[in-house]
């Protein structure tokens, strides 16, 4: 039985014994379903507008959306890692490459399907992270930054040294695609958009649940003050190791997706600093620890990257980074900070005093 009930300021929907309330005034909108519906419908809306209004097959546009989802896949676990370890890593793309190479090698050399390379990529990423996890305990500040920054460079050099295995810049070809092609390029790209969106969504959900759990609370304390966290009885080492391991495994999934999306995997492309900077900018522009802000910033960064690429050609990276730097200067609390400030009663009240003339 479905029944609508209009009350002052809100709508109530009775749906087979369950009751859903909807507040009409936008300032009270807290329902994440709105954001989810908007997000899910974005690719379809953009595609329809491009085809119907401009008679244009928007493959580049869809690729931009995939890149935005890739940034989310990287920046969301990265945010959790930063909170849970209390350290700012400069090597998230290292784990992307680990996942990518694992998936590509297993697919090409052993003929494993994407369904099997997915857990393998996660497991290898997590195991490598577990082996490296003592760095989250023994190093901090610039030492931690340097160690994490060196990891992708070392892996990059290894890919050239053992180009017989990793293929250097050419990468590893003949990786099985995530699904058999339909014959329609636009439809294929659209499916990849939704697959990447689904992965990003799952990661976002898992990270959100973690942050809201008591482990999330413990991570918050570790991020603020490790000594205080220890004095609470929190096993700081254990939480740091678990966080570092699992979030790195999540980043490896991004590499798995890339390998099976492109049908090949070339590490040096992703191990270069520009991609790292884009991930860091996405995480920072999202807002401090704000995982939902990352969604907004990822789409913004990916769109700006495409616009500058088309408009400025060789200078595109320079212009893109300049724009993002300016945004960092003006949006100190990121995109999520903007949203929070506009939320009713969620900003500090201020009193303006007029001077008597």
């Amino acid at each position: 039985m479905v029944k609508f009930e209009a009350r002052r300021g809100r709508i109530i929907i009775h749906f087979f014994g369950r009751k859903y309330e909807w507040t009409i005034e936008p300032r009270y909108w807290r329902n994440p379903m709105i954001g989810l519906v908007l997000w899910l419908s974005l690719p379809l809306v953009l595609y329809t507008v491009a085809v119907v209004a401009f008679d244009y097959q928007p493959i580049a546009l869809m690729s931009t959306l995939i890149f935005a989802n890739l940034l989310i896949m990287m920046a969301v676990p990265y945010n959790l890692q930063t909170i849970g370890t209390g350290r700012l890593s400069f090597g998230p793309h290292f784990f992307l490459a680990v996942g990518g190479y694992t998936a590509a090698l297993l697919s090409r050399d052993f003929g494993l399907s994407p369904a099997l390379t997915l857990p393998a990529a996660f497991a290898v990423g997590a195991l490598v992270a577990l082996a490296l996890s003592p760095i989250t305990i023994i190093s901090r500040g610039v030492y931690y930054v340097l160690i994490t920054l060196l990891l992708p460079f070392i892996l990059g050099e290894i890919t050239y040294w053992r180009s017989d295995i990793f293929g250097a810049e050419t990468g590893i070809p003949n990786v099985e695609l995530l699904f058999p092609t339909t014959g329609n390029v636009t439809l294929d790209v659209m499916i990849f958009v939704y697959v990447s969106l689904a992965i990003a969504l799952v990661l976002l959900f898992l990270v959100d649940r973690t942050l809201r759990s008591r482990y999330g609370f413990m991570m918050g304390v570790i991020n603020e003050d490790e000594d205080v966290a220890q004095s609470y009885g929190i096993n700081v080492r254990q939480i740091k190791i678990i966080t570092f391991t699992l979030t790195s495994g999540a980043m490896a999934i991004c590499g798995w997706f890339l390998a099976h999306y492109q049908g090949s995997f070339s590490g040096p492309v992703w191990l270069m600093p520009p991609f790292l900077i884009l991930v860091l900018l996405t995480a920072t522009l999202g807002g401090k620890g704000a995982i939902y802000g990352v969604v907004i910033s990822a789409y913004f960064v990916a769109t700006m990257r495409e616009i500058t690429r088309i408009t400025f050609g060789e200078l595109s990276v320079v212009v893109l980074f300049l724009i993002l730097l300016l945004l960092l200067y003006f949006l100190r609390e990121g995109f999520w900070g903007l949203y929070r400030k506009r939320r009713y009663r969620e900003y500090e009240p201020s009193i303006k005093v007029r001077k008597k003339v």
Partner: protein, 242 residues
């Protein structure tokens, strides 16, 4: 309850704590005094697990805890406050206490709602209920001291280590904190080791006083007896030049 034997801690060439031994019985309030640099805070840091000793042994309720980390000692029932209040500044007073409960042993059995309600109880106990939604960074020093105590008590400790709870407080505030510490000792059946520079307040509350000087324990006894000892007077005032 607490037995410290031959505890020594060096920082390079400086011996911060030098062969210190003492025992504390359950339910005691023990004052720890001494001039600046005497090694009081280092001793608290050694007992709480913030530092590991170079030599010596710490036993808590008959268990050797010398090599246990701070979080393991907290789980055994040792809570502490810091000389400079270390609260999570961008979180509210309520969140600060709530986080302590969630991290603690007993907090694992509580739901978020129960832990939240318990945090409110501790805030109320220390008169911070009205400040529960205020960011810790916006609290006055007196309130921060109370918040640290509330947070430490929320861990349901058996032994509470207080590192200069009166620092930066005016006499009225210091008196109020002192009364609160006595109250929680009685209500929660606590054993307290309390470092303090405000001797007047400590003399009233402590049943026993340990005096440290240059890392060594130079006196141990009832407050009124200890302050009359020549070596204590000398440590505080200095030796008369001849």
């Amino acid at each position: 309850m607490l037995k410290v034997s031959n505890l020594t801690k060096r920082f390079g060439g400086i011996i911060a704590v030098n062969d210190v031994s003492f025992e504390i019985e359950k339910g005691e309030i023990v004052g720890l005094i001494g001039p600046n640099g005497a090694g009081k805070s280092t001793l608290i840091n050694l007992i709480s697990g913030f530092y590991f000793p170079d030599r010596g042994k710490i036993e808590f309720n008959g268990q050797d805890i010398t090599k246990k980390r701070m979080n393991e000692r907290a789980k055994l029932g040792i809570a502490r406050t810091f000389q400079n209040p270390r609260v999570i500044s961008n979180m509210t007073a309520h969140m600060n206490v709530l986080y302590a409960i969630l991290g603690s042993n007993h907090g694992k059995k509580l739901s978020m709602t129960e832990a939240g309600a318990e945090a409110i109880y501790y805030l109320d106990l220390f008169g911070l209920l009205k400040k529960r939604d205020v960011l810790a960074s916006d609290l006055a020093i007196y309130e921060l001291r109370l918040l640290e105590l509330a947070r430490a008590l929320a861990l349901k400790p058996k032994l509470l280590l207080i590192d200069e709870a009166m620092a930066g407080l005016n006499p009225a505030e210091a008196e109020s904190v002192s009364k609160l510490i006595n109250r929680i000792r009685n209500e929660f059946d606590l054993t307290i080791v309390w470092i303090e520079h405000v001797l007047k307040v400590l003399m009233k509350s402590a049943e026993r006083v340990l005096v440290m000087h240059y890392g060594k324990l130079i006196a141990d006894g009832k407050p009124e007896e200890v302050v009359r000892k020549p070596e204590v007077v000398e440590a505080y005032i200095g030796e008369e030049e001849v």
